[in-house]
C-alpha cells in the first residue's frame, strides 16, 4: 500500500474448526485514520476474523502484528487492553447493568486499588457520551434503552479505552435511517482521531460512502484489497462471488387473479396500528420498512403468533379468526420467519420430520404417524425445492443455511397454503442461493399462490414485488405499484416519519 504503514496486520492467519477451515491464510491491513471495509458473502469468514482479532479465538497459523510487533492474545481482555475493540453484530451488552458499567466493565476505574469508583465511572461515561452527542443517562439501566442507544453505549465502550483499532461488525443492520446518519458522523470523528477502523457490511452504498480501503474474502480465503477510489461495485461483486450474477431477480409475470387475503385495520396496542392490505392470487406483495417499523410484528399477527391484536381478516371473502399459528395454517396462511434457526426449523430433527411437523394429525392413523406417507411428503417437496442432502433422514442442522431455508419452505408448501409470508427470505444466504429463492418465488405465484415478502433490501423489494407497501413506525405509510416505484420514493416513505 502506498500511504502510511498499517498499525494492525494479519499475516497468513488460519483458523481451523473440526472439518472446516474457517480462515485460510488471510491477510488484512488497517491504517490509522482510515476506514477499511471488509467484504465477503456469508460464510466468507468475516465473523471468525473479528473473533480472531479480538482474542476470542486463537489463530492456528500465521501472525497478528500490532504496531510492527507480533502479538498473541490469550483472552478477549488481552486485545481489549491493547486498544483493539469490536462492536459486535448483536450488541453484546448487559441489560441488567447500568450504562456506565456497560462502558467500563472489565476496566473499572478504581479507588484505593481495590474498590470500584462509581462516581468516576459515571462522570467519565457522561463525558464520553456527550462527546458523541448521545443523550443517555449513565446511571440508567441498559435494558430500558432502544437498539440505537445501545449501539451508542457500545461505541462509548470502545472509546473508553482509547482504542487504536475499532471493528464495526455490520453496525447499521439494526439501526434506523436517522441513527445510521449519526453513526456515519461518528465514524468520521473516529477517523479524525486517527483510529484504524474495520467496517464490515453487506451494503455497497455504505462502502462507497465511508470506506477508504477494501479487503475481500471468499470462502475463508483472502482474495484481494485496494483503494475504494480505484474500484466500482461491479468488480467488488465479482471478487466476492467469483462470477457475475446476471439476474438476481428473475421476476416473471404471473396471472394476477381475485383477492385472496383482505386485512382491515389490523391493530396492536403498542406495535402497529390500522394496517389495511389486500393480496391477490398470484401476486407478490413486498412490504418494506426499516428494522423496528413493526413489519415483522404485523406479519406475525397475520400468522396468529402475536397476541392482543384487533382487526378483521378475510380469506376468499370469508371472515376468519386467527389466534394461533395452528389456526393460520388451517386457513392457508403460512409464515417463513426471519429467524430461521430459532423459529423456522428444528435443527436436531431429520428433514422428513421437519417437513411433516405442521400436519402430523393429517398424516396419522390412530394417533400414530404413517412413516410411508410422511416420507412421501418429504421426498415430494424436498425434491421440488432441490434440497441438497445425503438422505431425507439427515439432521437439518447438518445442512447449509440455504438448504435449511429450502426445508422451511418445503415444510410450508406441503401444507398446501394459499398465502405464504416470507420474512427476510434471503437474509444470511449467499448470492447463489438468493437467486434460487427468488426464482422459486416466481414459480410459486405462477402456481397460483400469493406471496407477501417482507424485506429491508431495496433491490429485492423493487426487483420481486408486484406492489410495494411501506411501513414506518408501526403504520402503513404508502403503497406503490411496481411500475411507478423508485428507490428514492420507497426510502423517503420509509424514513419520512423519522424526526430528524
Amino acid at each position: 500500500m502506498s500511504e502510511g504503514s498499517p498499525i494492525f496486520r494479519l499475516e497468513g492467519v488460519s483458523k481451523l474448526f473440526p472439518g472446516v477451515k474457517a480462515l485460510d491464510q488471510v491477510n488484512l491491513n488497517l491504517y490509522p485514520g482510515k476506514v477499511t471495509a471488509l467484504i465477503g458473502e456469508n460464510g466468507a469468514g468475516k465473523s471468525t476474523l473479528v473473533k480472531t482479532m479480538t482474542g476470542i479465538y486463537q489463530p492456528d497459523e500465521g501472525q497478528i502484528v500490532f504496531d510492527d510487533k507480533p502479538i498473541q492474545f490469550s483472552s478477549p481482555q488481552d486485545s481489549h487492553q491493547l486498544g483493539i475493540t469490536a462492536i459486535h453484530q448483536e450488541t453484546v451488552l448487559f441489560d441488567n447493568l447500568s450504562v456506565a458499567e456497560n462502558v467500563f466493565l472489565g476496566n473499572y476505574p478504581r479507588k484505593h486499588g481495590l474498590f470500584v469508583d462509581w462516581q468516576a465511572m459515571f462522570d467519565n461515561t457522561q463525558q464520553i457520551l456527550t462527546s458523541i452527542n448521545a443523550e443517555i443517562d449513565p446511571k440508567a439501566n441498559l435494558g430500558g434503552l432502544s437498539i440505537g442507544q445501545k449501539h451508542m453505549v457500545a461505541i462509548a465502550r470502545a472509546l473508553s479505552i482509547d482504542a487504536k483499532v475499532v471493528v464495526l461488525d455490520e453496525p447499521t443492520a439494526a439501526l434506523s435511517h436517522h441513527e445510521i446518519q449519526e453513526l456515519y458522523d461518528l465514524v468520521e470523528q473516529l477517523k479524525a482521531d486517527g483510529k484504524a477502523i474495520l467496517f464490515i457490511t453487506h451494503k455497497f452504498d455504505e462502502i462507497f460512502r465511508i470506506a477508504d480501503y477494501y479487503t475481500v474474502f471468499r470462502d475463508g480465503r483472502y482474495i484481494g484489497e485496494g483503494r475504494i477510489c480505484d474500484t466500482n461495485e461491479e468488480s467488488l461483486v465479482e471478487m466476492m462471488v467469483a462470477r457475475r450474477i446476471e439476474d438476481t431477480y428473475p421476476k416473471q409475470d404471473a396471472d394476477i387473479g381475485d383477492v385472496v387475503l383482505d386485512v382491515t385495520s389490523l391493530s396492536h396496542p403498542t406495535e402497529f396500528d390500522d394496517i389495511n392490505l389486500t393480496l391477490r392470487k398470484g401476486e407478490i406483495l413486498g412490504v418494506y420498512g426499516l428494522v423496528g417499523s413493526g413489519r415483522t410484528e404485523a406479519m406475525q399477527a397475520l400468522f396468529g403468533a402475536n397476541h392482543s391484536v384487533s382487526g378483521q381478516i378475510r380469506i376468499d371473502g370469508e371472515t376468519v379468526t386467527i389466534n394461533s399459528p395452528a389456526e393460520a395454517i388451517n386457513q392457508g396462511i403460512v409464515y417463513v420467519p426471519e429467524e430461521r434457526q430459532k423459529q423456522g426449523i428444528v435443527l436436531e430433527l431429520p428433514i422428513y420430520q421437519n417437513i411433516s411437523l405442521p400436519q402430523l394429525s393429517a398424516l396419522s392413523k390412530n394417533a400414530c404417524v404413517d412413516l410411508d406417507d410422511e416420507m412421501n411428503l418429504a421426498r415430494q417437496f424436498g425434491e421440488r425445492l432441490r434440497v441438497k442432502t445425503s438422505s431425507w433422514n439427515e439432521q437439518v442442522g447438518n445442512l447449509s443455511g440455504g438448504n435449511q431455508q429450502k426445508v422451511v419452505i418445503a415444510k410450508w408448501l406441503a401444507t398446501n397454503p394459499k398465502v405464504i409470508i416470507l420474512d427476510e427470505p434471503t437474509k444470511g444466504i449467499d448470492i447463489g442461493s438468493k437467486a434460487a429463492v427468488h426464482a422459486f418465488m416466481s414459480e410459486l405465484v405462477q402456481l397460483g399462490l400469493s406471496v407477501i415478502m417482507v424485506s429491508s433490501e431495496l433491490p429485492e423489494i423493487l426487483g420481486m414485488s408486484d406492489r410495494i407497501l411501506v411501513m414506518s413506525e408501526g403504520r402503513l405509510v404508502g403503497e406503490l405499484d411496481r411500475s411507478e416505484a423508485t428507490p428514492e420514493q420507497v426510502v423517503t416513505l420509509a424514513t419520512g416519519g423519522v424526526a430528524a
Binding site: 473440526p18 400468522f303 403468533a305 394461533s324 399459528p325 395452528a326 393460520a328 395454517i329 409464515y335 420467519p337 430459532k342 423459529q343 423456522g344 426449523i345 428444528v346 435443527l347 436436531e348 430433527l349 422428513y352 420430520q353 411437523l357 405442521p358 402430523l360 394429525s361 396419522s364 394417533a367 400414530c368 404417524v369 412413516l371 410411508d372 416420507m375 418429504a378 421426498r379 424436498g382 425434491e383 434440497v387 442432502t389 445425503s390 438422505s391 431425507w392 433422514n393 439427515e394 415444510k411
Partner: protein, 337 residues
C-alpha cells in the same frame, strides 16, 4: 426400521444405510451390560438372589418410583421438570386416607387419589404455562405447598383405615410371583413407549424439547402440550400414591420424602438429556431395573439404605458428566491427530 433404505427413482435415499449406531441405542446397550454385570454379581453375593420370590420382592422397591419416571421422561424431554412429585404423593395419600376415614368405598378412594394427583399436576402446569415461570421454581414452591397441606391436615398423625381390598394394589399378586404393582408398571411402560415413540404426541414432545419456538411456529400448541405433560406426571404420581399407600397400609405427611431425587436420577440414568430434546422409554425402563437390582443386591449383603442414597447421588453426577467427559476426550484426540 422397516422402510426401504434406498428409493429407486431418486438419488436421495430416505434413510442412509445404518452404519453408525444411534447414540441412545448405544447408551441402552451399555445399560444392559451393566445390568447383566450387577445380576451376575448379585447371584455370586447371595444364593437367594435368583429365587423368583426374592426377585419379585425386589420389584416392589422401584415400581412406584418408576411409574412416575415414565411421564417425567416425557416432561424432561420437553424441557420442563417437576420436583414436586413426591409431595404430590404425600397430598394424594393424605386425601385418600381422609376419604377412607369418612367411609368412602374402594373405587372412590382410588379415584380420589389419582384425581388429587391430576389436580396437583394441573396446578403446576397452569403456573408454568400461564405465568411463564421456570418449572424448577414453580415446583420448588408447590413441593412445599403440597406437602405443607399434608402437614396442615395430618400434623404428626397417621391414618391407617382403608376400605377392604385396598391392600391388593400394593401387596397383591396377579399370578404366582407376578405382583399387581409390577403388572401395572409393565402396562404403563408399554403405554408410555407407544406415546413417546409411536404417537404424534411423542413427535411433538421431541419437537418442543429441541426447539420450542419452531414447534410453536409450526402450529403446535406448546403450552397446551406442556400442560398435558404436567397433568400426566400428576396423574401418575396419584397412581403411585395409591400403590404406595396400599403397600405401606398407612399415610403420614413424610411419605415418599426425597423420592424426586431417585425419580429424576432414573430418568437421567436412562439416557434422557437433562437439557431436553432426547431420550427413550426403553432406556428409562432399563435404568429403573438397574437401580432396583443394585438396591436389592445391597440389601442382600446388609448395606444400609442411606448408602444407597449416596450411590444414587454419585450415579446421577457421573451420568450427567459422562457426555461432557466423552466429548472432551474426543476433542483431545482430534487435536492430537
Amino acid at each position: 426400521m422397516t422402510t426401504n433404505t434406498i428409493t429407486k427413482k431418486n438419488s436421495v435415499p430416505d434413510f442412509l444405510p445404518v452404519g453408525k449406531l444411534n447414540k441412545f441405542v448405544r447408551w441402552e446397550s451399555f445399560l444392559v451390560i451393566i445390568l447383566f454385570g450387577v445380576c451376575v454379581l448379585n447371584s455370586f453375593l447371595s444364593p437367594y438372589f435368583l429365587d423368583p420370590w426374592n426377585l419379585s420382592d425386589a420389584t416392589f422397591n422401584f415400581t412406584e418410583k418408576a411409574l412416575i419416571a415414565l411421564p417425567m421422561a416425557l416432561l424432561i424431554i420437553a424441557r420442563e421438570i417437576d420436583i414436586s412429585v413426591a409431595a404430590i404423593i404425600a397430598l394424594s395419600s393424605t386425601v385418600m386416607g381422609l376419604v377412607s376415614e369418612l367411609g368412602a368405598p374402594l373405587y372412590a378412594v382410588v379415584v380420589t387419589g389419582i384425581a388429587v394427583g391430576g389436580l396437583c399436576g394441573l396446578c403446576n402446569g397452569l403456573l408454568v404455562t400461564k405465568f411463564a415461570i421456570p418449572s424448577i421454581v414453580v415446583t420448588i414452591g408447590t413441593m412445599s405447598l403440597f406437602r405443607g397441606i399434608s402437614y396442615i391436615i395430618l400434623g404428626d398423625e397417621v391414618l391407617k383405615n382403608y376400605p377392604d381390598g385396598f391392600d391388593f394394589f400394593g401387596q397383591g399378586y396377579v399370578y404366582w410371583v407376578v405382583s399387581f404393582e409390577f403388572v401395572t408398571f409393565i402396562i404403563f411402560a408399554l403405554v408410555f413407549y407407544w406415546l413417546l415413540h409411536k404417537s404424534i404426541f411423542g413427535r411433538r414432545t421431541f419437537a418442543i424439547g429441541n426447539n420450542p419456538d419452531a414447534a410453536y411456529y409450526s402450529g403446535i400448541n406448546v403450552n397446551r402440550h406442556k400442560l398435558i405433560l404436567f397433568v400426566l406426571v400428576g396423574l401418575m404420581s396419584g397412581v403411585a400414591a395409591v400403590l404406595l399407600t396400599s403397600r405401606l397400609g398407612s399415610t403420614r405427611p413424610s411419605i415418599a420424602m426425597g423420592w424426586e431425587l431417585s425419580i429424576i436420577t432414573m430418568v437421567v440414568l436412562g439416557g434422557v438429556s437433562i437439557l431436553g430434546g432426547s431420550g427413550t422409554i426403553g432406556g428409562v425402563v432399563l435404568a429403573v431395573i438397574l437401580m432396583g437390582m443394585v438396591t436389592f443386591g445391597m440389601g442382600l449383603v446388609n448395606i444400609p439404605g442411606i448408602v444407597m442414597t449416596i450411590i444414587v447421588g454419585l450415579m446421577l453426577m457421573f451420568v450427567v458428566s459422562l457426555p461432557v467427559l466423552i466429548s472432551m476426550y474426543k476433542a483431545k484426540r482430534q487435536r492430537q491427530v
